[in-house]
């Protein structure tokens, strides 16, 4: 079936010839990586352990800087910004979901979700409304007042997803978000993640080595020693 012509969409994230090496006597982890992510796109990056998937994610988020090459997030070249400016950009434009959940154990589900809005200085009334909407969207409304230790792994990861999307970031970065979940919770989480990225974020990148997880994305890229290559497009 022929693809319908797509309207030109804005580039959210672009990597050009990105190279990163951790030690002079070891091969580069990322060697000439190019990537372009446009608005509305949800991409999966697959690869074996140690191939540099997390490094790629850190470089994309400005948590790590490349040795050479250029990373542009929402039209801004990260190499032109200092650490504080990158941090402020990340605060506004990036959402994170981690394999290890990384929610603050001493905050309730709602407080964890509203954290990015609080950091952005969103007034309390609006903050509460947006948090409630996001919790509703992820089916967490009944758990809003609970602490993470009172929740299951799948519920905690949904809180992490809600937190990553509550401020409508330009890009969502998910690093093995189902790595710590059982298959049923993992499948649910992946569906939720895709739906919410489409609804609330500019674009999304899913880092995974699970074929099943990758197949929930619009396209799949593989990362290996030779670089990043397109595998297939849905």
């Amino acid at each position: 079936m022929a693809e319908e012509p797509q309207p030109t969409r804005a580039v959210v994230l672009r990597l050009e010839s990105v190279r990163k090496r951790f030690a002079a006597d070891r091969p580069a982890v990322l060697d000439g990586i190019d990537l372009e992510l446009v608005e509305g796109e949800y991409v999966a990056v697959m690869g074996e352990s140690g191939v540099g998937k997390s490094t790629l994610l850190n470089v994309l988020a400005g948590l790590d800087s490349p040795d050479s090459g250029r990373v542009t997030l929402d039209g801004v070249d990260l190499s032109t910004l200092d650490d504080d400016a990158i941090t402020r950009l990340r605060r506004r434009a990036v959402g994170f979901v981690f394999q290890a959940f990384h929610v603050l154990p001493y905050l309730s589900a709602a407080q964890n979700v509203s954290l990015p809005l609080e950091l952005l200085g969103v007034p309390a009334v609006e903050r509460n409304a947006r948090t409630t909407r996001m919790l509703d969207a992820l089916g967490l409304a009944a758990l809003a007042a609970r602490l993470p230790r009172q929740l299951s792994g799948g519920e905690i990861q949904r809180i992490a997803i809600a937190r990553a999307l509550v401020h409508s970031p330009r890009v969502l970065l998910a690093d093995e978000p189902t790595g710590n979940l059982d298959p049923r919770s993992a499948a649910q989480t992946l569906q939720v993640l895709r739906a919410q990225v489409k609804a609330h974020a500019g674009a999304g990148i899913l880092i995974t080595h699970s074929r099943a997880a990758a197949e929930t994305a619009d396209r799949i890229l593989t990362l290996d020693a030779r670089g990043l290559a397109a595998e297939e497009r849905r």
Binding site: T87, P105, E118
Partner: protein, 837 residues
């Protein structure tokens, strides 16, 4: 988004998760601020009481002409009163009268009430209706404090001792408390001259100058016109004398109190570091979510400042309560005896208290700053994975900083005092302490690297864990190293002082019996006949008399003590603790004088130099034959031969005697026989030298009680720091313990591993603290002590006591570590393995 929001978020979480840590930090700062402010307030209240009382005595005088204890001819008063620049002249006889049966003399002022009324209105108004009774030949009016201390009321008799003669006075009135706060007796000047054998002599003339006269110029012009030993003194000098004389003691006590606060700062450093370590995942997440480095750093430092502010506030309230109690119980005397006051009340000193509040906030914020900076520097990606930074970088930075601070500390120790205070000495101690803490990672890594594998799994694991977590080990050790090394330094200093003091006592008390009139009283003495009578007492093999009196060498400084005794160049080294001597020179050199170290520091006299003393109304020249060590008279002491003194003054009286018993003589019986030969036996103290030595050492130990108490508090704070740091790291390592349990390590083995870590760490801390403490003690002994008190002490190390202290510390830390471990391995091991946070 500002640091403010992050701070609020973190603090809210901390209040929920770690209320114990917050409470510990707040309490440690509160304790330090409470101790420091209480000591400051007590000393301040006592000093205010003293200066207030002196101000009453000075009144409106512009110049005080002050002479020696023996006085000057009253013709000088007439001359001064006739001076056209003088509006009012008021003559005074000042004596510290010996009271029968009491060791403390009563300050008595003989005044002309009419003239004094023009200068000391408030004091004279206090006499009220008793002013007329003052003219009775034996009448004396007592201040309320004197009446209370002597348990007397109007109409009661009061027996004073003049020479060896009891003389009866009658209390004709008691002043109200508001008139004068300290013990004092007021008499008519003529009665005082008659009663105290000072007819025709005065000690002091208070002058008020005519309007427009320049008091400073008048004083300067007087200097050349006054007899030897008589000086014009500015009222400010007179009023500030109590402050000047006790300044070094007060400052040192305040510094000591600040040690608790100082240790509190390191405790904040330890607990904040541990807390940051424990929260590193959360903090890294905040960084990943968009909190900037600066915001995180400021938020964490603000957390410390907030805790400091809370602690300081509690501390100031606690300090005021403590100070009130100390004034009530100890009468303001915190150990040196010079600041004992009657009925002092706490004075509200808002600026000083604001200062202590500020210090509390500052030290707490400073303690939190380093961990805040470290947390902000840690790359979030690395921290999210659980990394703790680069230990090699910690070691490198610490080594460079430690060496630089160490060099600075050593250099500062060589600098001279500032205004008689060892300010550079304190700075040197601070720099050396910071150097020691900075070098902990380097030393720890070096020692742990050298540790061999033992084959015991728990011990090998403990060493490996410490080697890999040098940062955590450092922060565990910081507060205990600071407090323990300061305790070691103080223990060495106090032990050195005590040994030197005991040696000094031995030199000055060589005889079997010591006998003296009440110390500091200048009315009691034995004349030549009485001395002969005493010397003839059966059972005495030998007796040596001494004459001790106060002598002003210049108007700005406190009087020095002159001791006239049997001494020669040949016997000086035997009878005095001589430190330096001048070469022996033959006559016609002036007669020899031996001066205490305070004389060298305050008057710049050195062995071989000439020293002029005002004796018998003339300046007499002596040669400084040597310098001796004196712990009794902080304002300076001079020893001259009795014959030279008598030749210069015609005074053959004696105030003290050393007696050697004949073989088989009984000390008690000889004492009774001596008393039987005295006119006022109850005014004389007769004690065996052994008792004097024991009593003096007991007083010495009592004076340092507060030192020990403050030190113990500092070490307890340090141990609390160790306990918190260890329990924090143990909890942070729950997953590790869970894994060890999974692979077959028993719960007891995990606890043993933690206890061994505690033993290794605290042993390192103890040995390190001993070495650092020894270094600090050198600064205390040779710089701070010497510059503060104008006397030297010989270094002596109480090795056994220090080893015991170290052992206690190691055991306490091991118990603490094992206790922390019990809590950490107490939960479900399986859950611990799966915990990411």
């Amino acid at each position: 988004m500002g640091a403010w929001r992050v701070w609020r978020l973190l603090l809210r979480a901390q209040l929920r998760e770690q209320p114990g840590r917050l409470a510990l930090n707040v309490l440690s700062i509160a304790l330090g601020v409470a101790l420091a402010s209480a000591i400051f307030l007590v000393n301040g209240a006592a000093l205010a009481q003293f200066t207030g009382a002196t101000r009453r005595l000075v009144g409106d005088a512009d110049v005080i002409v002050r002479g020696p204890a023996g006085g000057f001819p009253e013709g000088l008063f007439a001359r001064l009163a006739r001076d056209p620049a003088v509006a009012v002249a008021s003559p005074v006889v000042e004596v510290d009268a010996a009271i029968a049966g009491r060791t403390e003399p009563l300050p008595v002022r003989g005044i002309d009430p009419f003239r004094a009324g023009e200068l000391q209105h408030a004091l004279i108004e206090g006499l009220g209706g008793a002013t007329r009774d003052l003219f009775q030949a034996d009448g004396i009016v007592l201040s309320a404090a004197a009446a209370t201390a002597l348990d007397l009321k109007a109409g009661d008799p009061l027996t004073v001792v003049v020479g060896d003669r009891p003389t009866r006075l009658r209390v004709v009135g008691v002043m109200p408390k508001t008139a004068y706060s300290q013990p004092l007796g007021l008499m008519d000047i003529a009665s005082a001259q008659w009663v105290f054998d000072r007819v025709g002599r005065l000690n002091r003339v208070d002058l008020r100058l005519v309007d427009g006269a320049d008091a400073a110029a008048f004083r300067a012009a007087l200097v050349g016109r006054l007899p030897a030993g008589v000086f014009p003194v500015a009222p400010g000098t007179e009023i500030g004398r109590a402050a000047t004389v006790t300044r070094a003691y007060r400052v040192n006590l305040n510094m000591l109190a600040l040690i608790a606060l100082w240790t509190g700062a390191f405790l904040v450093f330890s607990t904040q570091s541990a807390s940051v370590l424990r929260r590193r995942g959360s903090l890294a997440l905040l960084r990943a979510l968009g909190v900037t480095r600066g915001e995180l750093r400021r938020a964490l430092a603000a957390e410390g400042a907030f805790l400091g502010a809370l602690g300081a506030l509690i501390g100031i309230v606690g300090g005021a309560v403590l100070a009130t109690a100390m004034l009530r119980v100890l009468a303001g005397d915190l150990g040196n005896g010079q600041l004992r006051v009657f009925g002092a009340t706490l004075a509200w000193q808002p600026w000083a208290l604001a200062g202590f509040f500020g210090i509390g906030v500052l030290v707490s914020a400073a303690g939190a700053w380093a961990p805040a900076k470290a947390a902000a520097q840690l790359p979030p990606a690395q921290a999210l994975k659980g990394g703790a930074g680069d230990p090699a970088a910690t070691v490198r930075t610490g080594w460079r900083l430690g060496c630089a601070l160490g060099a600075l500390g050593i250099a500062l120790a060589w600098l001279p005092p500032v205004a008689h205070l060892p300010l550079f000495g304190y700075a040197s101690i601070a720099a050396l302490l910071f150097a020691a803490v900075s070098l902990v990672p380097t030393v720890t890594v070096a020692l742990l690297r050298a540790a061999p594998r033992t084959g015991r799994v728990t011990l090998d694991n403990a060493i490996a864990q410490l080697r890999d977590n040098v940062g955590a080990a450092t922060l565990s050790l910081a507060s205990i190293i600071v407090s323990f090394s300061l305790m070691v330094a103080m223990a060495i200093m106090v032990h050195s002082f005590r040994q030197s003091f005991a040696h000094w006592l031995g030199k000055l008390l060589p005889a079997d019996i010591e006998m003296r009139v009440p110390p500091n009283a200048d009315t009691a003495f034995w004349n030549a006949d009485e001395q002969r009578r005493l010397a003839a007492t059966p059972g005495i093999a030998r007796i040596e008399f001494r004459r001790t009196l106060h002598l002003a060498l210049d108007g700005r400084q406190a009087p020095v003590t002159l001791i006239a005794r049997d001494i020669s160049r040949a016997t000086a080294a035997r009878v005095l603790p001589i430190l330096r001597q001048s070469a022996v020179r033959a006559p016609p050199d002036p007669p020899p004088a031996w001066v205490s170290e305070a004389m060298v520091d305050r008057y710049g006299v050195t062995p071989g130099a000439r020293l002029r003393l005002p004796l018998g109304g003339r300046w007499r020249t002596f040669t400084v034959a040597g310098v001796w060590r004196d712990y009794a008279r902080s304002t300076g002491a001079i020893v001259i031969g009795r014959a030279a003194y008598a030749a210069a003054t015609g005074d053959n009286a004696a105030t003290e005697a050393s007696l050697w018993l004949a073989p088989h003589a009984d000390a008690d019986r000889v004492g009774q026989a001596l008393r039987a030969r005295l006119g006022a036996p109850e005014a004389v103290q007769i004690t065996t030298s052994t008792t004097v030595r024991a009593r003096s050492l007991a007083i010495f130990d009592r004076a340092f009680t507060i030192t020990y108490a403050l030190e113990a508090i500092a070490v307890l704070i340090g141990l609390a720091g160790v306990a918190f740091a260890m329990s924090s790291t143990a909890i942070a390592r729950r997953a590790e313990f869970g894994m060890l349990r999974h692979i077959g390590m028993r719960r007891g083995q995990v606890i043993a591993m933690l206890a061994e870590e505690g033993i290794i760490l605290s042993s390192l801390g103890a040995v390190y603290g001993l070495i650092v403490g020894f270094g600090l003690s050198l600064v205390l002994v040779f710089v701070v002590n010497r510059q503060s008190f104008d006397w030297s002490i010989d270094l002596a190390v109480p090795l056994a006591r220090l080893c015991l202290l170290g052992a206690i510390l190691v055991i306490a830390a091991a118990v603490t570590a094992a206790w922390s471990g019990r809590a950490a391995v107490g939960g479900d091991a399986l859950r611990a393995v799966r915990e990411d946070w």
